[in-house]
């Protein structure tokens, strides 16, 4: 066992999940409270490495699916995770031995902790994104050819739907429709796999829970600038420090799109950086030049506290520092770039890793 997730580590995890959300995934605050209440009632959750689990045993990737605005009202019952496990075990005929976050970024990084506490199961130190992405099939298991089926979705009332679909596209389509019928939010598991499969290179993003905790701990323990500590902890690139001078939001086909302009302050005075958003921060540009883009992570942080600001909470006048850092290598493969690179979000340019872009700018 790597360590026991107690309230202190869970708080650090929440800060880290917010940064890894790259603007998306929802505010982890509610996930944090759920996890804290669950460990208060049921005890702390062991965090384990995939290598510690027998190779043929089942790992359940899980999380919430739906609109953050619904999650902030219709908070879960808490028993959704147990129901997902029960029906997944029924559908596969095998026992689940550990949970895994589908998505470490945002509130989904915390929800599996709360469920694991109630079930007395460990959480594995991995996820299937290393960040947050808007679509279910933007998962490392999908790239690795692991089927999303059987997927299970449930709500707080006890409704359960089991999905067997012919493709990831159909899974996305049917799950989203079901989520709306459930009231805009639901709990789900898909891409179930064995620990042996999960250990193979590129199938999961390893150590992402540890990374989130490292981010949160670095910021909490710092004496000097929390921003500097955070950048050091993740080997990130500072794109600009300034203030938000323009926010433009629009909605198309269910996604919140928009752009944000940050005007430099202090050493960055005179610079203007523009962020393109679609639930997450997708692209950072300066005078037509790309500074960073998906699948690398772009996070907007409060310049004083280094708290991550989600795209929904970005507002005029905020003092922010925008950072970018490299995604998991699996997203930089040809298939990874096809699934999550700038062109997959409709941009007409090729992906270049953020560290190369940073070098080019100097």
């Amino acid at each position: 066992m790597k360590r026991l997730l107690d309230s202190q580590l869970i708080r650090a995890l929440a800060r880290g999940c917010a940064v890894l959300g790259a603007g998306g995934g929802g505010d982890p605050y509610l996930g944090l409270l759920q996890a804290l209440q669950a460990i208060e009632d049921f005890g702390p959750v062991p965090l384990v490495d995939l290598d510690e689990i027998p190779g043929d045993s089942l790992v359940m990737p899980c999380g919430g699916i739906g609109a953050p605005t619904v999650f902030i009202e219709k908070i879960g019952n808490g028993d959704e995770g147990e129901r997902l496990r029960e029906h997944l075990e029924y559908a596969t005929g095998r026992k689940v031995v550990a949970l895994m976050a589908s998505e470490i970024g945002g509130s989904n990084g915390l929800m599996p902790v709360a469920w694991a506490a109630r079930m007395g199961l460990p959480l594995v130190d991995a996820d299937s994104m290393g960040r947050a992405f808007p679509e279910v099939h933007q998962a490392t298991m999908h790239l690795a050819g692991i089927p999303a089926s059987p997927a299970v979705m449930t709500d707080e009332r006890g409704n359960v739907v089991v999905f067997h679909t012919i493709s990831g596209h159909w899974m996305e389509r049917l799950q989203r429709t079901a989520a709306v019928e459930f009231g805009g939010a639901a709990a789900s598991t898909e891409f179930t796999l064995t620990a042996g499969q999960a250990r193979a290179p590129g199938v999961t993003v390893r150590n992402s829970v540890s990374m989130a905790i490292r981010i949160g701990t670095a910021v909490a323990d710092v004496n000097g600038s929390p921003i500097d500590a955070l950048i050091a902890a993740i080997d990130g690139n500072r794109l600009i420090t300034g203030k938000i001078v323009d926010v433009d939001r629009r909605t198309t086909s269910g996604f919140a799109r928009g752009s944000v302009v940050i005007e430099g302050l202090g050493a960055d005075a005179g610079r203007l950086v523009r962020l393109e958003l679609q639930n997450e921060n997708l692209v950072a540009m300066e005078r037509g030049r790309v500074l960073a883009s998906v699948p690398d992570l772009i996070s907007v942080l409060d310049s004083e506290t280094a708290d991550a600001i989600t795209t929904e909470r970005i507002a005029y006048g905020q003092r922010v520092t925008v950072i970018a850092f490299g995604c998991d290598p699996v997203w930089r493969t040809e298939r990874g770039i096809t699934a999550t690179g700038p062109r997959s979000f409709g941009y007409d340019f090729d992906y270049v890793p953020v560290e190369e872009l940073a070098g080019a700018g100097d």
């Binding site: 209440q37 609109a67 219709k74 805009g184 269910g254 639930n279 909470r313 507002a315």
Partner: protein, 576 residues
Amino acid sequence: MPGTEPAPGTRPAPGTHPGADGWRLGIDVGGTNTDAVIMDASDRVVAKAKVPGTEDITGGIIAAIDSVLSTRGVEPRRVTHVMLGTTHATNAVLERRNLRRIAVIRIGGPATHSIRPMFGWPRSLTGALSAGATIVDGGIEFDGQDLSPLDTSAIERFLGEVGGEADGIAITSVFAPVSARHELTAAEIVKRELGDIHVSLSHEVGSLGLLERENATILNGALAGVANGVARAMRQALVARDLRPLTFFAQNDGTLMSLDQAMRYPVLTIGSGPANSVRGAAFLTGRSDSLVIDVGGTSTDVGVLSNGFPRESSQGVEIGGVRTNFRMPDLITIALGGGTLISRDSGGIRLGPASVGYRLRHEALVFGGQTATLTDSAVAAGRASLGESGALGDPREAGDRRRLLTDALARADALLAEAIDRVKTSKDERPLIAVGGGSILVPGQIPGVSEVIRPEHFDAANAVGAAIASVSGQIDRIFHVGPGGRKAILDEAREEARERAVAAGADPDTVQLVEFEEIPLAYLTSPAVRVRAKVAGALDSRALEDAGPGRPARESRLRAGEPGEADAEDQRRQRS
């Protein structure tokens, strides 16, 4: 309305329509001083008073009322309206003082059990105000359907268990901003089971965000007694002078609520102080869009005047360690005021955060005292002529004292400039209205500021803001984009906000849209938007007189000879 025409150009936003010759008394209880003004029917400031605040605030209120009513030329009997702005409720939460015990009902099961009511609150606060909590089945989905049927018998059982312990009930339903029907049904059950106990309903307190709204609703119930105490003190002061004006509280958005409403929703008055300053600044300058800086004795608030009203914060506010989401003015507050102590140590210039507060006129150097304050700096720099500038040293000699005063002011200027820049919404230059007793500190040239406007009566802008306050209606809920498209939604939202404003006492002829925001919802396939709309209008004094049953209670005419101690019970009866 005869006799109510304002002077041209002095009405930036809807104000009051007082009676034909009615005068208004505006009172603002600040951190250092309590201010009062009297305004006549033509919106002219007839008299103003500033008195030191007192520990229990009521002493300051009474002194301010006495002082302003005793001013030459004031005929107390002409005062028909009294408006009070105070932020004392915040202190009650911080100090866990005078809080009522609240039984908490959340309607949302089987959802929401994963986070209990008041989970994560400071234990001392839960201990001070909780009379128990429950989650019952019920609540609303974002599309307006039932999440699950309301479990009325569970509410009855809970009330049977805790009813005896509780001074008030706080009721919060999932998606109450979409439909309040389960909250209203629950309120009826409470009334049937427990009679006229104080009930707080979340849809009237906060916006989307279940926990933050529930927290605000619980605090609201706990603060009902505090609001009552202030109202009683004010009543006594007025009755002692044989005055029976209509009484209002200023609320967080700079508009008015009746005394009855303030008793029911005291948490909505928590940010009224800064809101009053912004409204007063608007009124005194005739501007409707500007930055506003209010420099007091101890601290400075910088806010934004937008369409005649304070811009509201889109983020929640934390009170006493509890996250809430009711509407509050969007402010930057810094610990810097006219009484701020200045000194120099090895680290350089130190500003405050301590202040001499209301003792400024005894302790500052220019007033013959021994303490160097920012007011001394401002006088030394020629920004104001106050007291004895000779006490500050010879301006031609760069003595130690003189250098301290100069360096401290430069530091203060930088802090003020940064605070001003932080509240701006664009890099364009904006005008700045400087108000508050300490605003002599504000320099004439500030980066990003096109002009600094210093209105007459700047030192009583907060009390003026209370006295001219208008009435608003607001909605914040989720709309589904239907066949009518976006336009139909916007029309519906505006109309609903308008109806609320008129129901709260606004003159229908004067209401106008002052704030509008739409936020598309992410990760949903069916298009939906969250819409926030606010309209405001002048207080309709005609409507007040004929407000009958079936319309919300909007007035509380003070009655003479009423024993103060019975007020709480009296207020509870009035609600029914």
